[in-house]
Amino acid sequence: MSTVSNTTEPVDFFTKDKGGRSVARSFGNKVLNVICVGLAFLTLIPLLSIIYLLFHKGLPLLTWSVFTELPPAAGQIGGGFGNAILGTLLMVGIALVIATPFGILSAIYINEYAPASRLSNAVRFVAKLLTGIPSIICGVFAYAVIVLTTGGFSAWAGGFALAILILPTILLTAEQALIGVPKAYREASYGLGGTNFQTIWRIVLPDSLPAMMTGIMLAVARAAGETAPLIFTALFSQFWINSLKEPTASLSVLIYNFSTLPFDHQINMAWTASLVLVLLVTAANISAQVVFRKK
């Protein structure tokens, strides 16, 4: 069987186009490749330089005393920020305890029970708006609602401010996690005579858990790093926590305070605190991924 061809040599169909030019190695193709790879590397640069800077500046002072001692007064050296670490953990914890049930249950309502209703549409719209809310507004709101009514700054107020901050994120990512569960699973459950609740509780929620955890971890990372909401609500404290009704130290406020002082030691402490904050969030992220991975 002979092929009709304009050239005297057999045409290689896999790499050459009709004009005999190499397809993969055409000039436009090469340029686009270079641009894409180059931009990918470029985006890594700020990320890697932040990580490098954190380790370079923060590692020197990273000792166990950081976890066990209290912040040094102005001019002093030594000390640590154990109370700030504890404060951050507590207030992020409070925020999660408040925001997670609201977020997940609302997501279940707007995706499983009444996806097309006006209420669901309103909730989605408002949640998307609120994801852009400046964090200082959360702080001011919590100030009005908790601090003014209870008469004092507290960890509760700080946790509440953070909860408002992360609620929209948790709700929307939970909704996406639920959407990611195949409709076929729900159909099978209903076909077997499952109720709405049984279908959600036994099939949909377990399958959506890894994706939900991603959303919650995003929220944790954001909450742990915010300073503005805490300045109006939890303030700061030089001492260990006695009760959640008192002003409470936090890593973000500590970093803010120390980095503006004219003392070298405090500034170095701020770097170390930044490093600890990043490491804590990373550790939380990794453990959540491990515990909730899809089996």
Partner: protein, 259 residues
């Protein structure tokens, strides 16, 4: 003295003057039919003729879609399935459904089968174990999976998954088994296994199967209903439909002149 089964009813599933609408669009027009007990009834017809729609009405699965409505009656063993006193959940538990694309839960094989029992509140281990063995044997899958009941159902082959779905559907001993093109995603060998299964299952269950494959209808069913554009054109013994149909449209369809 073993009790004898009561005589099988000829109108076990009865459809009366049934009209069905998706919003403004009418999908079924005045359907009347009586489906006999413990036999296999096949629904055939071109795409969009309403056969799956009617099938999904038997266990009221269409109610999961917004904006649907119906007129007329469907009676299961003499009782209307739309009776206000019947809970949809209870109805669905007494009717098993196998879907076109097999949809096992992302759980173990064991948990897939006992799901219908757990949601009914039955959690005793011996009952569940017995159910799993009975259902898997009934679906001709027991020998292949008996050593890996706790492994994920998603690790099975396509044909095995569909047989698992059949086992899951019969676990709670439903009255009727509805099958919506169960073999369309399977290879010929798996299809043959499922068809053999249907022959065995019909001794115990009333089966309604929607199929695009006319040879399958010939092989598997006792009675066949031909649908076209939402109307029931002809409903008779399979032998008669495929050798000597009374309606011209039926004849055109089975000889491949359209559809």
């Amino acid at each position: 003295m073993t009790p004898t089964l009561p005589q099988p009813r000829a109108d076990f599933l009865k459809v009366q003057d049934f009209n069905f609408y998706y919003g403004k669009k009418q999908a079924l027009f005045n359907v009347n039919m009586e489906i006999p007990e413990r036999q296999v009834t096949a629904f055939i017809g071109p795409s969009g003729c309403g056969k799956s729609t009617l099938l999904r009405n038997f266990n009221r699965m269409n109610e999961l879609i917004d904006g649907v409505r119906h007129e007329g009656q469907i009676l299961l063993n003499g009782r209307s399935i739309y009776d206000k006193k019947i809970e949809v959940i209870a109805l669905r538990r007494s009717i098993g459904m196998v879907f076109q694309k097999s949809n096992p839960f992302p759980k173990s094989i064991y948990e897939n089968i006992v799901y219908s029992m757990r949601i009914a509140g039955i959690n005793g281990k011996s009952v569940l174990d017995e159910t799993v063995e009975r259902s898997l044997k009934g679906a001709a899958l027991w020998d292949e999976v008996k050593d890996r009941l706790n492994e994920s159902a998603l690790g099975l082959s396509g044909g095995q998954m569909q047989r698992l779905c059949i086992a899951r559907a019969i676990a709670n001993r439903p009255e009727v088994l509805l099958m919506d093109e169960p073999c369309s995603a399977l290879d010929p060998i798996a299809t043959a296994k499922v068809e053999d299964l249907i022959h065995t299952l019909k001794k115990e269950f009333t089966i309604v199967i929607v199929t695009h494959n006319m040879q399958q209808a010939t092989r598997c069913s006792d009675r066949t209903a031909f649908f076209y554009l939402g109307k029931l054109i002809e409903f008779d013994d399979t032998q008669k439909i495929f050798s000597n149909p009374s309606q011209k449209q039926t004849e055109d369809y089975i000889t491949g002149r359209f559809g």
